[in-house]
């Protein structure tokens, strides 16, 4: 049922302010053949929809719209499926209201 999302989260992200640190993603998914259960889960529950399955069936992250909540860190960093740091000072999401 959840396969056809009723909301486009991209439209929500357009309302936000970001300063993207081009070429320096703060989240990096470890190379893999077959994605782990956690990585596949992130394609559904990441609140900014940063995770997606690519043509080869692997999970990719594009953290430009990241809200820096840390959900993916909590779920998947421990297994080594990804590395997680905060963006460099000043970069990333800039909440106007918070």
């Amino acid at each position: 049922m959840a396969e056809t999302p009723t909301v486009r989260v991209e439209e929500k992200l357009y309302q936000n302010r970001y300063l993207v640190d081009a070429g320096r993603p703060h989240i990096v998914v470890a190379p893999h053949e077959k994605p782990s259960k956690e990585l596949l889960l992130l394609t559904k529950i990441c609140p900014a929809h940063c995770y997606e399955v690519n043509g080869k069936g692997q999970v990719e992250v594009s953290p430009d719209g990241c809200l820096e909540c840390g959900t993916c860190r909590v779920l998947a960093e421990g297994s080594g499926a990804l590395t997680w740091t905060y963006p460099r000072g000043g970069y990333g999401v800039l909440f106007k209201f918070g």
């Binding site: 959840a2 999302p5 009723t6 909301v7 989260v9 929500k12 992200l13 309302q15 936000n16 300063l19 956690e38 889960l41 559904k44 529950i45 609140p47 900014a48 929809h49 809200l67 820096e68 909540c69 840390g70 959900t71 860190r73 909590v74 779920l75 960093e77 421990g78 997680w84 740091t85 905060y86 963006p87 460099r88 000072g89 000043g90 990333g92 999401v93 800039l94 909440f95 106007k96 209201f97 918070g98």
Partner: protein, 434 residues
């Protein structure tokens, strides 16, 4: 980067970091505060309600210039199924007092204001700088490293006010990474409406405000709650559930929020609003049992980083401010007697916390997270529906006699859960509430 040594380095400029830095700077200590955002608050997210008492203890005259939205005169607690809510509302004109007790705030603005106070008190603030590591010497924290050039900045003691998802403490092995069942993921939107529209929809005037906290089938069987807070010209609306429950169901948080916004009880309140921001944040929900080690050789932890949130009462920033202030008072005591910032000496922070409402409240509810988790299918699934049907049966006038209605209501609960199940849930709830 400043080359000199500081008495204290505070990592983070949220309520905990600001309270700590302010209290220390006011007492004449040399404080450096480091914040990764463009301005204080630009990385921070909260519902947000601010409790006056805990800020008053730090800045007694904060009402003179703090950016406050509305003072709360009404609290609504809604237990919802898909088409209704059963609610408890408390409204009192007593809350229209000279020095109101609770306010809604907008965190980005509030944190900016608080940070200005910190700087006026004499602390040095560096922005747009991420602390990447703690520096150790002989097992003792002696300073921090940042992503700016200039190497290590030294201090006698480092205060980690880095928030729930702070990586510093974890990286240094001082506190565990938050676990999926001790943090909730909340998503929130800011809906803008003219103030007179908000006032008429919520039956308020002037700076009066209303909060709605909601639970039930809105979280689709997951442990969590929704909320709706009135600001001056906007409404903060959000919903959050335990990360472990999101992991279990694979539900998209933004779809949960969309469904909550479409609920027939909620939709009219936000109709026609312009959405200006979408945010997500983790909330520490593990309670007393999830509080990590709070102090060690040359370091202390304050605020969300220490899991200081009372999930039952939706209190967080007041615990953050209080732990920040208490940590500052502990540090000041040690500094005043020219003592070392050893783990042994810093343990007075823990002792002072135990005597405060912070630890007493967390201790009171230490069994609740387990109960909520164990009973989630019922609390956020079958019970809200049963309650709604019972209320509807009771209020609908249809020629059926009241005694039969009563019997039907009781039977519906017993059928769904059994007498023993109901008694067990009631007993467990009572026990975890003590």
């Amino acid at each position: 980067m400043p080359a000199e040594k500081f008495d204290v380095i505070v990592v983070g400029a949220g309520p905990a970091g600001n309270s700590c830095a302010y209290t220390l700077a006011k007492r004449g200590l040399k404080v450096l505060q480091i914040e990764r955002g463009e301005y204080p608050g630009s990385k921070n997210v909260q519902g947000a309600i601010m409790y006056a008492n805990m800020l008053e203890k730090i800045i007694p005259d904060f009402r003179d210039d703090a950016p406050l939205e509305r003072h709360l005169i009404e609290q609504r607690l809604w237990y919802m199924d898909d088409s209704s809510y059963t609610g408890v509302h408390y409204r009192s004109d007593d809350f229209n007092e000279e020095a109101p007790n609770r306010y809604t705030i907008i965190r980005a603005q509030f944190d900016k204001w608080f940070s200005k106070k910190v700087q006026q008190a004499g602390a040095l603030l560096i922005l747009e700088t991420t602390v990447t590591d703690l520096c150790f010497s002989g097992g003792k924290v002696i300073g921090v490293k940042t992503d700016r050039a200039g190497g290590t900045i030294l201090a006698d003691v480092v205060v980690m006010a880095e928030g729930v998802n702070g990586v510093l403490g974890t990286k240094a092995g001082l506190r565990p990474r938050p676990k999926p069942d001790t943090v909730a993921l909340a998503v929130k939107e800011m809906h803008f409406l003219p103030s007179d529209v908000i006032e008429s929809r919520f039956n308020i005037s002037g700076d009066e405000g209303v909060v709605i906290e909601a639970a039930g089938t809105i979280t689709k069987g997951m442990t969590g709650t929704g909320f709706l807070y009135t600001n001056k010209e906007s409404i903060s609306i959000g919903i959050g559930c335990l990360v472990s429950d999101f992991a279990h169901t694979g539900k998209a948080p933004y779809e949960l929020l969309e469904d909550f916004k479409k609920h027939p009880a909620v939709a009219p309140l936000i109709a026609g609003a312009e959405v200006k921001e979408y945010a997500a944040h983790l909330i520490p929900e593990g309670g007393y049992n999830a509080v990590p080690q709070l102090f060690g050789e040359g370091w202390v932890i304050v605020g969300d980083a220490g899991q200081f949130v009372n999930a039952v009462h939706r209190e967080g920033s007041n615990l953050a401010m209080t732990t920040g202030r208490i940590a500052a008072e502990a540090i000041f005591q040690i500094k005043s007697r020219k003592d070392k910032f050893s783990a042994e000496n810093l343990s007075i922070y823990q002792k002072m916390l135990e005597q405060s409402f912070v630890m007493k409240d967390l201790k009171k509810y230490k069994r609740l997270p387990d109960f909520m988790h164990g009973a989630r299918d019922r609390l956020f699934g079958s019970y809200p529906e049963l309650v709604s049907k019972a209320a509807q049966n009771w209020f609908r006038v249809d020629g059926k006699d009241k005694k039969s209605k009563e019997k039907e209501i009781v039977r519906s609960f017993v059928k769904a859960r059994g007498v023993r199940g109901l008694a067990s849930d009631a007993w467990k709830l009572a026990r975890s509430w003590r």
